[in-house]
């Protein structure tokens, strides 16, 4: 939560390792045809932008792993999963970056994307009413969900029959599916607008802390004060942990659990205040202790002086006002934001509020579901961890007796810890031992793509076929054209119309940039001059006076057949 909070807002976006090969791109493309984004093949350009932004934002996908039903996805996603894996599961998470805990959901209900599309369309059309309508649709579902939760919170699982329990479980899950759409919706749209807010604010604000404070002041959802309190409690516990010198690696320390208990208490207090709901105490709302522990470990590796970092953050939190601030007006005026920029911020604000509420409500589902799960598992005589390997329908069917646990390959499922895309449609399931090898190979691939471009083999793209041999003439600008003599090979970064008279007389053409339809390529074909384009660093690799030879039949390779440098001999 807190590590993710600071990191995700300030993380630089430039990650160049993504989409470097066509295979990778295929597996990351928008339409996983029937899987990731549902059976929608015609997503318009901006939608793709939205998603590529997402993938870039989250970095390289290093591996994927089955998640633990913390976030519930819709029936279509469940069906798609079943189709691919042959068994039912609630969701899957994508883990990005080796050893990091940033996860994004690998699939969502189609409806989510339809709604995002509507939303973005409305945004492009500057149609404020439609934007509000989309959010309004959410509001109605939230009301229904909230009413349901009020009713269910008073139910007592232990006094229900198995079939009543199964029915209640199904009903809650169904509503959670529909409400989680807005959580997903919020994640995507919020990011979409967060970028734009960043673009607006960054030119005005250089300091990270000031940026954070400005964002907070402009967009302060209801939940934030409580989140701060929770974060503060967690930080204090972690500081105590650091001071006690019992930092991981190792078993989850008790202090972290303590923080979670406080975290839960604060949440329930907030809920009781905000929604008038009954106060409850429960473990593991939202994230597990392991989750926080890994975040802590991440942080410890990222910051040599963890204690100092924790203290800085704590001091920062302490000086924040713990109530909604209303000085966004003065910030807007101070920064001199125009109407459109203000609109972006207003929408972003509405989205963060909607999304925070949605995720709170999904999380709230745990308040109701967890007692049912505990009770159900007790009655079925299974470990609660096994619940996470079951889909909604399976658990309900086990409860009402229409299915037996022995019919399910629980052991096999528990050993599956990941999968990867083989191509757009098929997946490979990984067992635990295989996963380790997969991650290692991914890390190797990651290192390989980080290598500087210069280490690529020197070659270009054939743009006009033929065999060429001649003395190199390096042309850096139009003035250099004077030194060109008929029969030379022209080497240039790119060509313009001014080069045409020279191109006509050249034995061959080599350019650093461009594709098969650029000016140099087209003119070369027209004049019947062999040409290679996109030969990186060509004007630096070859020198005036060298005799070059290339045959496009060999691919884009150029041979230096004489290194005679007349300039030096004189």
């Amino acid at each position: 939560m807190w590590a993710g909070y600071t990191e995700s807002k300030c993380r630089p976006f430039g990650i160049r390792t993504l989409c470097t090969t066509s295979e990778q791109t295929k597996s990351l493309g928008v339409d996983y045809k029937g899987f990731t984004f549902g059976p929608r093949h015609a997503l318009p350009m901006y939608m793709n932008q939205l998603f590529t932004d997402q993938w870039h934002y989250h970095g390289k996908w290093d591996g994927m792993s089955l998640g633990d039903s913390q976030i519930w996805l819709g029936p279509e996603a469940v069906d798609a999963f079943h189709e691919v894996f042959g068994f039912w599961k609630g969701n899957a998470n994508v883990f990005v970056g080796a050893g990091t805990q940033t996860a994004c959901h690998s699939y969502s209900r189609c409806a989510v994307f339809e709604e995002i599309e509507l939303f973005v369309e409305a945004w492009i059309a500057r149609d404020a009413m439609s934007l509000l309508n989309v959010l309004e649709g959410y509001r109605r579902q939230a009301d229904e969900y909230q009413a349901g939760c009020r009713e269910w919170l008073s139910s007592a699982p232990s006094s229900m029959s198995n079939s009543e329990l199964a029915a209640l479980f199904r009903r809650i899950r169904r509503l959670q599916f529909s409400i989680s759409r807005y959580d997903q919706f919020g994640i995507f749209t919020e990011d979409f607008f967060e970028r734009r807010v960043g673009q607006i604010l960054l030119p005005h604000i250089a300091d990270e802390m000031e940026y954070q404070q400005t964002i907070d002041a402009l967009i302060l959802p209801h939940e934030l004060p409580t989140m701060r309190l929770e974060e503060k409690a967690l930080l204090e516990s972690l500081l105590a942990l650091v001071d006690s010198d019992k930092l991981p690696p190792g078993a989850p320390p008790r202090q972290v659990r303590l923080a979670l208990v406080r975290h839960a208490r604060n949440t329930s207090q907030k809920l009781s205040e905000q929604y008038g709901w009954q106060r409850v105490f429960l473990r593991n709302i939202g994230h597990t202790a392991d989750h926080y522990l890994s975040e802590l470990t991440d942080l410890a590796t990222g910051h040599e002086d963890l204690r100092e970092h924790l203290l800085t953050r704590l001091r920062y939190l302490e000086q924040l006002p713990f109530q909604r601030r209303s000085d966004s007006r003065s910030i807007v005026e101070r920064l001199g934001l125009n109407k459109e920029e203000q609109t972006v911020i207003a929408i972003y604000r509405a989205l963060t509020e909607a999304r925070n509420e949605a995720s709170t409500q999904v999380g709230l589902g745990s308040l109701i579901v967890n007692p049912i799960v505990t009770e159900g598992c007790k009655r079925l005589g299974i470990d609660e961890n096994i619940f996470h390997l079951l889909c909604v329908e399976e658990f309900a069917e086990l409860l009402d007796g229409s299915r037996q646990i022995a019919q399910l390959d629980i052991d096999g499922r528990s050993r599956i810890c990941g999968f990867w895309f083989q191509n757009e449609r098929t997946f490979h399931l990984m067992r635990d031992d295989e996963a380790q090898r997969f991650l290692e190979s991914q890390q190797d691939a990651h290192r390989a793509t980080e290598a500087p471009i210069l280490s690529q083999p020197h070659k270009g793209t054939c743009a006009a076929a033929g065999l060429a041999e001649g003395i190199a003439c390096i042309v850096s600008d139009v003035d250099d054209l004077n030194k060109f003599k008929e029969g030379m090979i022209l080497v240039a970064e790119n060509t313009t119309v001014d080069y045409v008279p020279v191109l006509r007389k050249s034995a061959g053409i080599i350019t650093e940039h461009g594709g098969r339809t650029c000016h140099a390529a087209v003119v070369a074909r027209e004049f019947g001059v062999p040409a290679i384009v996109n030969y990186p660093q060509a004007t630096h690799i070859f020198r005036d006076g060298q005799t070059l030879r290339f045959d496009t039949a060999e691919g884009g390779i150029v041979h230096i057949i004489s290194r005679l440098d007349t300039g030096q001999q004189k």
């Binding site: 993504l18 989409c19 093949h41 008279p501 940039h513 339809t517 000016h519 390529a521 003119v523």
Partner: protein, 308 residues
Amino acid sequence: MKESPFIFWLGAELDQWTPAELGGKGYQLADLSLLAYPIPRGFIVTASTLRHFWATHPELAHIWHHEPNTATAEARRALQVCHIGPEIEDPLMGAFDQLSVATVAVRSSSSREDGHTRSYAGQFETKLNVTGDHLAEALKACWISLFSDRVLAYNLKDDAVGDNLDFAVVIQEMIAPVAAGAAFTHHPTNRDTSQIHIEAVWGLGEAQVSGCVTPDTFVLRKCDLEIMEYQPAIQETMLASSISGEGGTAWQPVPPHLIAARKLTPATLTLLASTCRNLEAVMGYPCDVEWAVTEDRLYILQCRPITT
């Protein structure tokens, strides 16, 4: 607004209009517009306009008596100093106002360009992101380019510039593309007619045409538009409309998250390729298509026969 022989609106019926009057590019765009292909809105300043200008400036009339080299220099100098005059400027600015956009793209449309060789294209002036204040100037810059040395050099290959004034100028709303580039309806080097070859860059397509930037390359199978080949390219700078009020274009850094990103989605690629396939069928020859995509639309900027 009254009809002017100097303005032809894209989308109007071609009737008696000829390629000589609208220029090769302009006539083609008018045709594409009638066929409902997605081209940017705009109009053509007809060849009659230049002829009229010529006729009303007696000092230009004697130019053809000079040697070709001197004649072109003379013509350029004379054009430089002459004002285009209200008879031309009024309908021009009227049409610009009617278009009701902030900036336009101004492209030369010679009757000899396109239709023949692509290398000829680019010999004439193109002005992008032109504001109303600079429109008359941009029009004249196009005219002047008819008399440039490089056009002359190029024409030594066939005939001299002569007194051919079939030269129109296309003026269209300025598109701010996310990505743009060229598409060939057969493979440019191996001429495989079963393939569509697409190159895409971020920003304006001029960066791709000039070869300043190495594009993403997609090769699609024409029958089912399946992607056969995808060569990604890293692009760090892109050409875009300048944000200054003066218009023009400027090189800008590509946003970091897009530098290595794929420039066309499968869906956009399919739309573009199917449009090109369709163009080839309608035109009846292999097409060299310049295109651009904005956040939500595909535009066809030009379509000409592949000449090589």
